[in-house]
Every structure is written in C-alpha cells, then in structure tokens.
C-alpha cells in the first residue's frame, strides 16, 4: 500500500500548497531579503547593504520605544481581555441563579447581553477609534465632562495628550472593542460542555468559583489557548496599528509614548520612503510574534480532555 503514497498526497495538496507558497511563504522570504537592502520603496533601484538596517535599528530610540509598547500590548492585552471575556461568558452561561429543572443557567437577560457585547465587533476599528477620540477630547469630551459633573472639575486629564496616560487610553479602546468577540467565542465553547458535569459538581456542593476553575476552564482550555494567540496577533498587528494611527498624538506620541511596531513599519515605509529599513523592523515584529505564539503554546500545553 506504500506505493505512490507521496504522489497521491501531494497530488491532492498541490494547489493549496502552491497558493500558500506563493502568497505567504514567498512574500516572507522577499521581505527578509529586502531588509538587507536600502530599497526606498519608490524606485526599482536598490543595493544590498548587509546588516546596515539592523545596526541602525539597534541605535534607534523610536524602535526600542515601539518594541517596548508592542511587548506590553502582547503581554497585557490578551490576559486582560480573555479574563474579562471568561468572566462575562461564565456569568451568561453558568453563573446565574438556577432555574427549576436546569442544572445551570446564565444570569437574567443573558441572550440580550450576548448580542450587546458583540456590538463593538460589528463596528470597524477605525470608527471605534474615532468615537473614543471624541470621548477622550479634553476640551469637550464625555470623560472630562463626567469628571466635572461629579465635582472633579479640578481633575481634567489630557488623556491622549498625556504621555503617561496615552498608551493605557489606547489599550482600553482595544479591550473594549475585542472583549465581545471572545465572550461569544467562549459562550459557544461553554454551551458544548455537558450539563451532567455541572450537575455532578453541584451534588458535591461546589460553589461558582470551584465550578469555574475545576470544570469550565479546563474543558474550555483549547479555545482559550487559540483565543490567546489570536488576541496576541491582533495586539501586535492590524488593530493596534489602526487605533494608534487614528487616535494618538503625532501619531505615535506624545514623544513616542504610544508608537507600536506595526505603526512604525508603516511610517518608515510609507512616510519616509525607507522600505528596506521598514522590512527590517517588520522582521523584528515577526520575531516577537513567533516568540509570543510559541510561548503561549508551550505554556498552555495540557492533556487533551475528551468529552
């Protein structure tokens, strides 16, 4: 039966493999190659400059600031977003007071909340960023108006204009816009957990917290792990780029306090005409992403539970 096995498999996979190679692997290799050149992105002429771009990167304070912020994003955002989403979805599916005849149920009005939590996902991230920009407006924004209304007229932060606050303001927006997706994802996961487990736990007198940590979380672990990687990639990539580009001073400021790698790549490639240097920063972003994904998969390795 071994005869022609490879030809058989490759024959079936040749088209997707070729597509993958052309549209994913090939651009990666090209980018890595361009990071060793001084290509401007505006003309077909360029020459190979070896490690120049990487040397420059090592001495570029803006690069280090961007790297630091990207790392903060990828460490903080997924953990916070997943924690909030897990709590909310647990409350919506398991955490309610028990109705008659049901082992577990969500809080009152759970179906309605599920829809509401998903709203931010429907909005384009650009619109979300713009809306929050109005909210953060120090002169006429809702936040400072609220502070004045509760008698804190003396406390009027500049929010996005304050280097100490700006990064956290941007992160809060990302949290707000992403939590809903994970609530729905985890809700779907939780609804597939057999009810008998909960019934058994209840008979043993387990409280809510025990139920969550002993039953819900372990059985949901696969979903949590993929959600973690996905959120990390979002935090490093497109989403963080969009909110930083739209909302922040500069963008990327004040004084480099909010710049992230994805935005810095864009600025170097499309503002300063330094595509070669931009791809070098892109390679750094790739390394951070791979390290993160590898780390999460390694940390999160558990026995698979079959149920």
């Amino acid at each position: 039966m071994q005869h022609g096995k490879y030809r058989f498999i490759v024959g079936f996979l040749i088209v997707p493999l070729a597509l993958y190679a052309i549209f994913v692997i090939w651009p990666f290799i090209q980018s890595i190659y361009y990071s060793f050149t001084n290509w401007t992105g505006l003309s077909p002429q360029f020459s190979v400059t070896g490690l120049d771009n990487y040397q420059r990167m090592m001495h570029d304070p803006t690069f280090w600031a961007s790297l630091r912020h990207s790392v903060i994003y990828v460490l903080v955002l997924p953990v916070v977003v997943l924690a909030i989403a897990l709590f909310l979805s647990f409350m919506l599916n398991v955490g309610g007071r028990r109705k008659k005849g049901a082992a577990v149920s969500g809080v009152q009005g759970a179906p309605f909340y599920k829809i509401v939590y998903f709203f931010p996902q429907v909005l384009s991230i650009a619109i979300v960023a713009l809306l929050f920009q109005f909210l953060y407006n120090p002169d006429s924004g809702a936040l400072n108006a609220f502070l004045s209304a509760i008698g804190l007229g003396s406390v009027q932060p500049e929010w996005l204009g304050d280097p100490g606050l700006a990064l956290w303001c941007v992160m809060a927006v990302l949290m707000w816009s992403q939590v809903g997706f994970f609530v729905v994802l985890f809700s779907a996961g939780m609804s597939s957990i057999p009810k008998d487990f909960y019934e058994a736990a209840l008979l043993d007198g387990a409280g809510r917290a025990t139920t969550f940590f002993r039953i819900t979380l372990p059985l949901l672990w696969d979903t949590v792990q993929s959600g973690w990687v996905y959120m990390g990639v979002l935090a490093l990539g497109a989403e963080s780029f969009a909110v930083t580009q739209i909302m922040t001073v500069g963008p990327g400021g004040p004084a480099d306090s909010t710049n992230v790698l994805s935005l810095y790549v864009y600025q170097k490639a499309f503002r300063d005409g330094q595509a070669g240097y931009a791809t070098a920063i892109g390679v750094a972003l790739l390394i951070v992403t791979l390290l993160f994904a590898g780390g999460v998969l390694r940390l999160g390795r558990r026995e698979r539970l079959e149920y």
Binding site: M1, Q2, K5, Y6, I9, V10, L13, L17, Y20, A21, I25, I29, Q30, Y33, Y34, N38, W39, T40, G41, L42, S43, P44, Q45, F46, V48, D52, R56, T62, Q133, Y136, N137, P138, D139, S140, N144, Q156, E158, W159, L160, G161, D162, P163, T248, V249, G250, G252, G253, P254, A255, D256, Q267, F270, R271, D272, G273, Q274, Y277
Partner: protein
C-alpha cells in the same frame, strides 16, 4: 522515516505531511540574485517615448499632439474641479490626445507599484497624507527636470518666461541642492497666526504687533474666560507655522537657514531660545485653551471658530477646512507673527509663505512634455483665477486676484503678502526631513514644551539632539540652502 503517527504500517502521520510539504514549498527558492529582479518589475530604459514634435508658438514644448496624457491628482481639500478645467484646455490645444484624470487620496499606495514597475503617469499632484517623499524621489532620480517648462514662454504673454510669472520662493522650493527644478508647487500657502476680527473687536483690540501687547490681550481675554491660543495638540507640527517665522523675524533669515541645513548648534541661536521662551510663557500664564494638547487639528480649529480661543497657528487651507463650523460674521484673518521687541532683525510683516500642492513629472513618464504642457496651462492667469475662485486659495501664479471678490481670509492673505514685500521666509525642514520635522521636533520637542512638560532650555537641547542625529543619519539624503 520517523513517522510520528500511531499507525505502525509506515503510514504518514499528519505532522509528517506538513513537515514535508513545507520542505517542498521551500525547495523552489531560487538564488537571491533572482530575487532582486522582483522589486524591479521592469524599469527598462528603452521606454518608447513619443517623438518630440516641432516646437511652435502654440506648442513651445513640442508636445506630441496624439500622445495620451495620464494625470493623477490628489483628491483633497482642493478637489479636482480645477484640474478638469485645465484638461479641457489641454484638449482644446491637442484634440487628438486622450486625457485621463485619476483622482485618489492614496497617492503612494496607488503609485508606488507604478514607480517600481517603471510605468508612472505623466503628471502627479503628490499631496495629502500619503504624499511620496520628495527627497527620496529626487535622490532616486525618479523625477523629470522641469527647467524646460520654466524657460518656456508663459501661456498669456510669450515675451515672459514661465519662471518669471511665479510668486516668491516657488522656484527655489522646486529645487534640491540647487539642482534643476523638479517640483512645481501649484498652490500658494500663507502661514501665520490666524484670528477672527470679530473676536478681537469684542476686546476692542487690533492684532497685537508686539509680544507685550499679545500677552496683555491674552490676559484680558482670560478674564472673560476666553483662551488666548489653541493649536493642533495632536499634531504639534502645526506650532511651527507661526513659530518658525517668529524665529526668523527675531534672528533673521540665516537662523532658519542654519536649522534647515542641520548645522551644529543651529537651535542654540539666541533667537530660537527667545522665541521658545515667549511661546512657553503662553503656557505658563495659562493663556492656552485647556486640553489643547489632546486636540486634533479639526477639534482645535472648531474650538477657535467657536470663539473659545483667539489665535491659532495655521496655514491658508484652514478657511476651507473649517468652513463648516465658521460663523458667518467670523471675519477670519491671518497675520504675520508679532514682534518680540524692537531689536528684532526683521520688520513686522515678515511672513512664511510657500508653495504647496506639489506637482511632479516622473522621469520615466511616457509623455513628460504633455505633463509639463498641462502645468503651463494651469499656470496661466485664467486657470489661476479659476483655481482661486473654486478652492479659496492663492496659486503660485503671481497675480490673478485683481477684480476677484475675495473672502476675508483670502484677502488678508493677499494683504499679508503685500505687507511682507521681500520679507517672505521659507523654512524647508518640512519638505526635506519629514520625520525630523513632524515626529521629532514637532511631537517630541515642541509638543512637549507647549504642554508644559519641557522647559524652553530643555526643548532647545532636544531639538539640537534630533537635528544632530538627522545630520549624522546616512540613510537620508541631506539638502542645503544654496
């Protein structure tokens, strides 16, 4: 074979298939030398340029009458109407030429592949947020020399050359290191301190011509709950629109030239420190609208048109941009920066005015002469008047405003230019070193100082550091005033 699968019949595990297919996918990676052909998708030098026609009085550049004209325009504050009108005139002269006008807001996204592939259009309005870096384009020899256009007889008066019909500074702005002219800035922008005459009337004030009066007026306004100044805190590189000419006025033209040339200690000139201290005083005395560091350009302009602040550093596009929120009786005006004191090197009226909306003809264009001819048509008095009427901005054509009824803002721009006479400054930092001007000096230093997080002395030091780093940076092309 090292199968990881559970089946021990030597079958392939899933993991194995993936590993091997990845290997297969990578086998085809050719040598790097082949790779380098990828960025350059063509760029062969034997592009078939249309044969040059005979030059006549009607066709001084010798445009081939049948060659199509490929024109890409940035569709922004000025719209595209004025260019369409110029296309009509071009077609009148060359009825057989097919003119395509492509309007886009994404100049770089649209045109980058065409530059890399060696098939750029014949004329580009390289403007907007996605403006392609001029310094890079020039350094990479991607732009055609426009000297032929400058030396051609002007559209209205064949006895005058085109170069003699332009407003001050436009020609120099198109040159890089004194090399030929590569960029034709079509619009003409007046930068300075913008205000509402109506707002000043409420305080029985005229525009304060020196800094003491400025501070006095701000103090008066503050008592009434009106801020003296606001600016685009989110984009602090708006502050130089009034700060740079202020520095030039205090210390003379050469201070700004030294800054543009990235000379050592250029920011340490006394004029710079004096100007910084004056602006910092606005912050220190609480004359800046609260929350300004968090406002973007639209929000700050809106606060200004709502009479929340008297003054804003800006350029003449603000009239169009803020039109929606501007009250009818606002009487928008622009002024040159106030004097610091009587020892200023240049008189009151010294202003920053410069070309904007940069038009370029790519070196590899199929019909570069057509692109230049289209520009020659646009630089006629008729086209210029049409532009001014349609978009409320001056053009680089010197004149063309007589007999037009201008809005208050536009009229004040014309008056400011008349008052300035030869004292027109043109700092070039924002054209030559975008990153340095916007990200570093704008956001990293001036923005911090105006928000009160940096003293003027620290700000000077920081600007100098940024300037020195840019001077040392071998990855950017450096330019000098000639």
């Amino acid at each position: 074979m090292g199968s990881t699968s559970a089946q021990n019949d030597g079958g392939l595990g899933r993991r194995d298939v993936i590993k091997r297919s990845a290997a297969l996918g990578l086998v085809g990676i050719p040598a790097v030398s082949f790779l380098s052909a990828c960025a350059s998708g063509g760029g062969s030098d034997d592009t078939t340029k249309p044969s040059k026609a005979k030059t006549t009085a009607k066709n001084p550049l010798g445009v081939n009458a049948t060659s199509p004209l490929d024109f890409v325009i940035f569709d922004g504050g000025f719209g595209t109407e004025y260019a369409k009108d110029a296309n009509v005139l071009y077609n009148k002269a060359f009825p057989k030429a097919k003119v395509t006008l492509t309007a886009t807001q994404k100049i770089q996204t649209q045109l980058q592949p065409r530059f890399n592939g060696g098939t750029p259009p014949d004329l580009i309005d390289n403007s907007g947020a996605e403006q392609m870096d001029m310094g890079v384009l020039v350094g990479q020899k991607q732009l055609a020399d426009l000297t032929a256009l400058m030396d051609a007889p002007s559209y209205d008066d064949p006895s005058k050359k085109v170069r003699d019909t332009l407003r001050p500074g436009v020609l120099e702005m198109g040159q890089f290191n004194g090399k030929p002219m590569y960029v034709m800035n079509y619009a003409y922008t007046v930068y300075g301190v913008w205000y509402s005459q109506t707002a000043l009337d409420r305080f029985d004030a005229q525009y304060p011509e020196n800094w003491d009066d400025m501070l006095a007026l701000c103090a008066k306004a503050k008592k009434k709950g009106v801020a003296g100044w606001t600016y685009a805190g989110k984009y602090p590189y708006y502050v130089p629109f009034s700060l740079f000419p202020f520095i030039g006025k205090i210390g003379g033209r050469e201070v700004l030239d030294a800054i543009d040339n990235l000379e050592p200690n250029c920011w340490k000139a006394p004029a710079v420190k004096a100007a910084f201290e004056a602006y910092y005083e606005l912050y220190a005395k609480g004359y800046i609208l609260k929350g300004t560091p968090g406002l973007d350009h639209i929000q700050s302009q809106t606060a200004w048109t709502q009479y929340k602040a008297l003054f804003i550093p800006n350029g003449s596009w603000v009239e169009n941009e803020a039109a929606k929120t501007t009250p009818k009786d606002f009487q928008m005006k622009v002024s040159a920066p106030s004097s610091l004191d009587s020892s200023d090197k240049m008189p009151f009226g010294t202003i920053w005015a410069a070309g904007g909306e940069p038009y370029i003809v790519p070196a590899k264009a199929k019909n570069p002469l057509g692109g230049m001819e289209q520009l020659r048509i646009m630089l006629s008095e008729g086209s210029s008047r049409n532009f001014t009427q349609k978009v409320k901005s001056l053009s680089s054509f010197n004149g063309g405003t007589d007999g037009l009824t201008l809005t208050s803002a536009l009229q004040s721009g014309v008056d400011a230019l008349t008052k300035a006479g030869p004292n027109v400054l043109n700092p070039r930092l924002q054209d030559w070193y975008v990153d340095l001007e916007k990200q570093k000096i704008g956001v990293g230093a001036l923005g911090e100082m105006m928000a009160g997080r940096m003293t003027p002395a620290e700000c000077v030091k920081k600007c100098q550091e940024f300037s020195d780093a840019a001077a040392k940076d071998s990855s950017i092309t450096h330019y000098k005033h000639q």
